[in-house]
């Protein structure tokens, strides 16, 4: 029941918000709904049983003849991603609470609709439902970006929509293929689907279809061209939803479908994927160095970070997977914090051009501290959340190949270069005309900033609980790979 309530609560709230038509206090309603969802998430956390394979199961037949059912359940990984979602959405809603708020109730309705869909993606135990929620998540973000975005929003949003839709269709093909191959009577139950032993020839095509679907969503180099533009034109809340939560769907998909169902091809093609991902990692980092606009810089840095996560996923060992899952969570918080910072700067100075900024630390010390901590988290300084993930991922990659890890490690240096450059140019120096009257964080903004700071540091100092929740999932994913690992020679 819990998982169903987690999906239905924001869905109902969003329906109410759509019907409200800008009655007074609608944003309070949105906030309350998301906080109630947060409470549910915390209940799930405390009721979670690490030993069980599927927590809070809910099963009801839907289309019997096709083996489709309403079934939900949470693994450790699902729980973590659901928690990420329920923690981030209230924060994202709070970031829109400011005087020049131009959002209507429909905007909040869309955010909550998206939340419902995201929770659905992370908890579905049925492939068909998974696909429905996957596409359902795309619709609200399309409207959020298309209606409230910046310059050129229609063109860029449409491109994003079609591009990711294309990926989803590939994914659907793979899902249907797996469905056909399940023993009769066919079923869309994910656990059964991924257990199907495909012949090698078929496995390659299923791998390709799944990988395209997920790679576009993440995005992996060279399928990323929708990403910088979309992040830049989307309203801050949209960028947060996209980078903070939505791209984790792709990584989740790899863990949930790709690795278990195509394990042979995954091991075989891991080097190819790694090369793509690490190319993206370095490519994004290098491009970020010379970006002139804050949001675009964040977009490329986020692209670089997910490159590292994807590469680590394909190292296929406990440390790397644990690190990736940890980084999925911490990247979610960090990137939301970064977009929040960009949003604050944009609202107060009406510009995101880095060279027009400067000296903010002088006039807004609290904001400077917040930005500093977020930046440290994002460059993976020890005792911040970013370090735990990067450390484990790199440790895992070393076990795969030392050279891969060494090359990926260069991003640690490049990351420091662009983040410190950004910080220095925007926060330090003499104040410029646009920054002279920069107001420090307001009390509403502190309600977002302080929890983020606490999360960034707490996750860096005491990562054990999260890693322990993720561990059973990681082990069950790797369990089936074990016998294959020695037997398969990678293609490169």
């Amino acid at each position: 029941m819990l998982t169903i309530s987690l999906i239905l609560l924001p869905l109902l709230a969003s329906l109410i918000l759509f019907l409200l038509k800008d009655k007074k206090g609608f944003h309070i309603l949105a906030l309350v709904a998301s906080l109630a969802e947060l409470v549910l998430g915390i209940v799930a956390l405390f009721g979670f049983d690490k030993g069980a394979a599927r927590n809070f199961p809910f099963d009801a037949m839907w289309i019997k003849s096709m083996g489709i059912s309403f079934s939900f359940g949470m693994s450790g990984l699902s729980l973590l991603l659901v928690l990420l979602t329920v923690f981030l959405v209230p924060m994202i809603i709070l970031t829109t609470f400011h005087r020049d708020n131009k959002y209507s109730s429909a905007f909040y309705g869309l955010i909550l609709l998206m939340q419902s869909a995201l929770v659905g993606v992370f908890t579905s135990s049925d492939g068909f439902l998974f696909y429905i929620f996957w596409e359902m998540a795309l619709i609200p973000i399309y409207f959020i970006c298309g209606l409230w975005g910046g310059e050129n929003k229609i063109k860029i949003t449409l491109k994003f929509f079609i591009y990711t839709m294309l990926g989803s269709l590939f994914m659907l093909t793979a899902l249907i293929w797996l469905y056909i191959k399940t023993p009769a009577p066919h079923t869309f139950n994910i656990d059964t689907m991924v257990m199907v032993k495909l012949p090698l020839g078929e496995q390659f095509w299923v791998f390709l279809a799944f990988f395209l679907g997920f790679a576009i969503k993440i995005p992996v180099f060279p399928f990323h061209s929708w990403q910088p533009d979309t992040y830049t034109v989307a309203p801050a809340a949209g960028s947060m939803l996209l980078a903070g939560i939505m791209l984790k769907m792709g990584l989740y998909g790899i863990l949930r479908f790709l690795i278990p169902s195509c394990s042979f091809t995954v091991i075989q093609f891991a080097p190819v994927v790694m090369i793509m991902a690490i190319t993206g990692l370095l490519y994004g980092s290098v491009i970020a160095i010379k970006q002139k606009e804050i949001k675009r810089l964040i977009a490329y840095s986020s692209f670089a970070h997910v490159g590292l996560m994807t590469a680590a996923l394909f190292a296929l060992n406990v440390d790397a997977l644990q690190g990736t899952i940890y980084q999925m969570i911490s990247h979610g918080f960090n990137v939301v914090a970064l977009f929040f910072i960009a949003d604050i700067i944009q609202r107060r100075t009406n510009t995101l051009q880095i060279n027009e900024l400067g000296g903010i630390a002088k006039v807004a010390p609290r904001f400077a501290v917040f930005f500093m901590i977020v930046m440290l988290g994002s460059v993976a300084l020890p005792l911040t959340n970013g370090f735990i993930g990067e450390f484990l991922m790199l440790v895992g990659m070393v076990q795969y190949s030392f050279y891969v890890a060494a090359i990926a490690g260069i991003s640690i240096i490049l990351g420091a270069v662009y983040m410190f450059w950004l910080y220095q140019r925007s926060m330090y120096g003499e104040t410029k005309p646009v920054t002279a009257a920069f107001a420090d964080l307001t009390s509403t903004e502190m309600w977002v900033a302080v929890p983020l700071i606490i999360i960034i540091i707490a996750m860096g100092v005491y990562p054990k609980p999260i890693l322990e929740i993720a561990k059973p999932t990681v082990e069950s994913i790797l369990f089936s790979l074990k016998p294959l690992k020695e037997a398969i020679i990678p293609v490169l």
Binding site: K290, L383, V395, Q399, Q424, M427
Partner: protein, 630 residues
């Protein structure tokens, strides 16, 4: 003892949090008491721990909590107090405390007073974690933490973008080293399944000497040390780091943080003695850096830059010691260097304070009268660093050179050469600053004054330590007992570094060569800068080629800019263009091609219903016929 060991780093952390969270409200006296008090209490605890260890008690191990449960091992948030770390504790908290006290006077009218002390406390915390950590990951926390504090403090006056650039440069160069450290750590983790010192060393000792993996791992760890301890090729950040307030230069960029690399190699000596190739690399890099930096120092005119290059050079000596297997010697030199270099920096700070911010020694001179205490302590520091007995620098440098003589005569000769240069540039600095006539403006002359008590008292204490620090480890040739050797022997083992082959006679001869040479250089410096009162030429005047090269620090910064910075920025532009014009355009092309195809096939939609119907009927008929034919 366990609680005590845990409290040593936690106290400065708490003080950092209190000051940092209330940095706008706290009055300056409260901040001073909090910041200095926490470090003082840590120092007292460190002393207790030191005597606890010295009393022959076993090492103190504290695990606060399990930090990262990795696959092969669980990495704990844990501290260890053994002879090596207890020695470092004393240096960090002791020298740190004196510098904190000094800073109260130095920073008294800076508007960022509270911010300064919160950073300083954070630094002390990070440094203590670095030296106390009981595994490489803990060391790495401190390692990056001190890098961050160094960044924050170099760029402390953040309105000046040149300072910020120096800070960023320091952080990024350190990060390059950190990558090496990380990779070295990963190799250890994969090889030994642990990062805990004890486990790693125990498992490593089973390997044979010259093991390839161990050599690579130690090399990579040493890359980290190169970054942190400013050795060739990553040394250029340290002179730039002098942009920070002078107490910062004393604490971070002379006494503690930059010696972290030395500490790390000493801590990992069990690995390094099994990797002779790495040891040789360390020695070569150390001696090269020592000479390279010394030659640059001779031609610098900024009082802090001279000291900075001298720090780089002295760190080079420490690495020579490590490379020659003189681990105790290196740690000894680290200790005495912490005393006399902190002293020199603080005294330089006192001079700068009196001169109203002027740092160019060409505009100083004759400060002896106005600043008698500073003059005296600066002299003590200068003699100590020049290696004149019985000041502390003599003993520690001598121990390193002695090992070098024993193992490799070439390095010994180069070492002596460097020590001669040290004596020359240090006395050049001393004479130009304190002797002769005052060369500054009249306004500065009016302003000249001795610093307040809170600054001079730490100076005097440090001067005493700089003079007497050698007592820690008086070699047997002078009837001493090498007490530091004995104290550290549980760590380094007694078998590593006895000086057996060199007789006392040779030892005294070697010392005499160094001392007489240094005295001669001091005499030369006196002749040149006091007797004939030569003042270095002002900027903009053409110099001889060699001196020009040295004045411009071998153009290293420019070379790096040309070789690394420019290409990366260029690459960034190229890649961005590639992204926009190739990858994005390809995707758009696919989209546009689809649209075009749609347009082209649009002619079929004539809008004539009759046509549609006929097409439909004909198609159905065609299908029927086709179906019948099969």
């Amino acid at each position: 003892m366990n609680t005590l060991a845990a409290l040593v780093p936690i106290l400065p952390l708490l003080s950092f949090l209190v000051i940092g969270l209330n940095f706008r409200r706290l009055p300056k006296p409260v901040t001073s008491i909090l910041a200095c008090g926490s470090v003082l209490v840590s120092f007292i605890f460190s002393v207790v721990l030191f005597f606890h260890i010295k009393g022959g008690n076993p090492t103190v191990n504290v695990t606060l909590f399990e930090w990262i449960p990795a696959a092969a091992t669980s990495l704990g948030f844990s501290f260890v107090v053994d002879p090596l770390s207890s020695l470092m504790l004393l240096i960090v908290t002791g020298v740190g405390f004196l510098i904190h006290v000094y800073s109260i006077g130095y920073m008294h009218d800076d508007e960022g007073f509270n911010r300064f002390f919160s950073y300083m406390n954070l630094f002390v915390f990070s440094m203590l974690v670095l030296v106390l950590g009981s595994n490489y990951l803990m060391m790495f926390i401190g390692w990056e933490g001190v890098g961050l504090c160094s960044y924050l403090l170099i760029g402390f006056w953040f309105k000046n973008q040149a300072y910020n650039n120096a800070a960023k440069k320091a952080f990024i160069m350190n990060r390059i080293g950190d990558l090496g450290f990380l990779l070295g750590m990963f190799i250890l983790y994969v090889q030994f399944g642990s990062l805990d010192y004890q486990t790693v060393f125990a498992k490593a000792s089973l390997l044979e000497s010259g093991n390839l993996i161990l050599t690579i791992a130690t090399m990579l760890l040493f890359v980290g040390a190169i970054g942190k301890s400013a050795q060739i090729p990553l040394f250029t950040w340290l002179p730039d780091a002098m942009a920070g307030p002078t107490p910062v230069s004393a604490l971070i960029h002379a006494a503690t943080m930059v010696t972290a690399g030395v500490y790390m190699v000493a801590r990992s000596h069990a690995l390094y003695i099994l990797a002779p190739a790495t040891m040789m690399v360390i020695a070569v890099i150390g001696i090269t850096t020592a000479l390279f930096a010394a030659t640059i120092a001779i031609f610098q005119n900024d009082i802090k830059k001279v000291l900075a290059y001298s720090t780089v050079s002295q760190l080079g000596y420490m690495f020579v010691g490590l490379g020659m297997g003189a681990f105790t010697g290196a740690m000894f030199h680290l200790t005495t260097h912490a005393f006399f270099k902190a002293l020199l920096f603080l005294a330089a700070g006192s001079v700068i304070h009196a001169m109203g911010g002027e740092q160019d020694i060409r505009k100083m001179g004759g400060l002896k009268k106005a600043l008698p205490i500073t003059w005296l302590v600066f002299l003590a520091g200068t003699i100590a660093i020049s290696g004149i007995p019985p000041f502390s620098g003599f003993f520690s440098k001598d121990e390193i050179l002695l090992h070098a003589y024993e193992q490799n005569k070439v390095i010994w000769v180069l070492g002596i050469l460097g020590s001669l240069m040290t004596a020359f540039y240090m006395f050049r600095l001393f004479y130009l600053t304190f002797a002769g006539m005052f060369r500054g403006t009249d306004k500065q002359k009016q302003h000249l004054h001795e610093s307040p008590k809170s600054m001079t008292i730490p100076l005097i204490i440090l001067a005493v330590l700089a003079v007497a620090g050698g007592l820690l480890n008086i070699p047997a040739v002078f009837g001493g007992s090498s007490s530091l050797n004995t104290f550290l022997s549980p760590i380094f083992g007694s078998g590593v570094e006895p000086v057996g082959e060199v007789s006392y006679g040779t030892e005294i001869l070697l010392m005499s060569i160094a001392v007489i040479g240094s005295l001669a250089m001091i005499g030369f410096a006196w002749f040149r800068f006091v007797k004939t009162a030569t003042i270095p030429v002002t900027d903009g005047i053409k110099r001889p080629a060699l001196s020009n090269l040295l004045y411009h620090k071998y153009y290293i910064d420019e070379i790096y800019q040309f070789l690394i910075e420019k290409p990366v920025l260029w690459l960034s532009d190229i890649m961005h263009l590639f992204d926009v014009y190739v990858i994005d355009k390809t995707v758009n092309f696919v989209g546009n091609a689809t649209v075009w195809l749609g347009k082209q096939s649009g002619f079929l939609q004539t809008g004539n219903i009759g046509f549609y119907l006929i097409a439909m009927v004909l198609s159905i008929v065609a299908f029927l016929v086709f179906g019948l034919m099969i």
